[in-house]
Symmetry: C2
Subunit: 255 residues, 2 copies
């Protein structure tokens, strides 16, 4: 039962998130159905590094998939892409991995990007890909306040009620906010995140960008260890899982 | 009858191009219907700098629109955006212009960007926005060959049969091709272009990027003054009208 790692890109608008759910199309279901159509596996089973929510995009999601027979990685990639149509998912690369390698449990880092469009006009070209905030934000103040959150903390104030993690303590390696034209781009990196953590941090930083909060208010919210103390959950559409690191890393094939 | 210039962004997938056509939704019709709903004009009439084809996007289209009564530019922008929903068009800015100012006839330059995604996997996040070419192109060779086309030439070999221009001689100010990761981005600038000229030049440059043609072959194709001598028409979805310059330039208001 050869196991393969897969590097995936998807448009979250087409799915009710990564994880299989009754009655709704998910990325996991689309992938497993494509593998089944390929007759690569009788009961395809997959897992992903990041269990993205409905509407959240991915440019660098990593999953693993078990096959009944070995297949050359570039052929696996191309065959899955044919059978994934018309779902907005693409397999960018495939790599053979050990039978006990796990996309989630071997992951050592996740990187997310959150994009805010802060101009009066709504998005036409980027609809469904950005959070539209009609008034200009202070990106420098957002970046400054974000540094309060970097490091090892109890992130209970930024954790969804439905979060299943045992421990609310996480180490945030990076949280940068920067202006690029009419966009504020926020990059978050950590070994792992709590459920909704990135979106809850973004919602809080937007309060700072609007001049309603300071970095000191963000610290108070963090220390409160209470979801009600922090800002709103930013919409899913601005979020993209851009990359995952693993140990050992899959050897993605070229071609 | 105050005339306003409008700066527009739109997703070309939602439209049968800019120009009004019976039985199909166009950007011009969406704009004029929004103006009519606003009761800003009894018989709204508009014109655009670039009459983009079906599927072609715009990030910096410029149009003009006549109103029955004066309106502050930021209010005009916001009100049109409300009434343009759910069409994928946004008014980025508005500016009052003289009654004889014309979005098309006062235009002094047009800039287009064409994006090719040259990787094996089809686009998931950029579907409808890029031309997918599965095999890697030689972007440096494309840029080199593109310079053959820069300058004043008879572009008959790159002109659609339906082109209504009186004169096939145009001055191409810039044609650059450059690699950005998995993308080859082509930027074309001129005072004006023939119908399909950018897409026909891109289709020809892709032959060079595939190693099938050299810069000398592009020169032979140009000199032939025959559409059949050049490459195929690249698909509409990769093309975006990114900007237009005018004399006099509209004074876009902030806020």
């Amino acid at each position: 039962m050869p196991r393969h790692a897969l590097l995936l890109e998807y448009d979250g608008r087409g799915f009710a998130g990564w994880q299989r759910q009754d009655g709704q199309m998910t990325v996991q279901q689309a992938l497993e159905e494509a593998a089944a159509r390929l007759a690569l596996s009788q009961a395809p089973s997959s897992a992903a590094a990041g269990r993205t929510d409905a509407g959240v995009h991915a440019g660098g999601q990593v999953a693993h998939l078990d096959l009944d027979r070995p297949l050359e990685p570039a052929r696996l990639r191309d065959a899955l892409n044919v059978h994934l149509r018309p779902h907005p998912v693409a397999i960018l690369a495939a790599a053979p991995v050990a039978a006990d390698w796990h996309a989630r449990f071997n992951a050592t880092g996740r990187a997310y990007r959150y994009v805010i469009l802060d101009r009066p006009a709504p998005p036409a070209l980027e609809a469904g890909r950005v959070w539209h905030v009609p008034r200009r934000l202070d990106a420098a103040a957002m970046h400054h306040a974000a540094q309060v959150l970097v490091g090892r903390h109890d992130f209970s104030s930024f954790r969804a009620a439905a979060c299943q993690a045992k421990d609310p303590v996480k180490t945030l390696a990076r949280l940068d906010a920067a202006r690029h034209g009419d966009h504020v781009v926020i990059v978050a990196e950590a070994r792992s995140f709590l459920h909704h953590q990135v979106r809850n941090m973004v919602g809080t930083l937007v309060r700072v960008g609007q001049g309603r909060w300071t970095a000191a208010d963000v610290r108070v919210a963090l220390d409160a260890r209470d979801r009600a103390a922090a800002g709103r959950t930013a919409p899913a559409e601005g979020l993209c899982l851009t990359g995952v690191t693993h140990n050992p890393a899959p050897l993605w094939a070229d071609g």
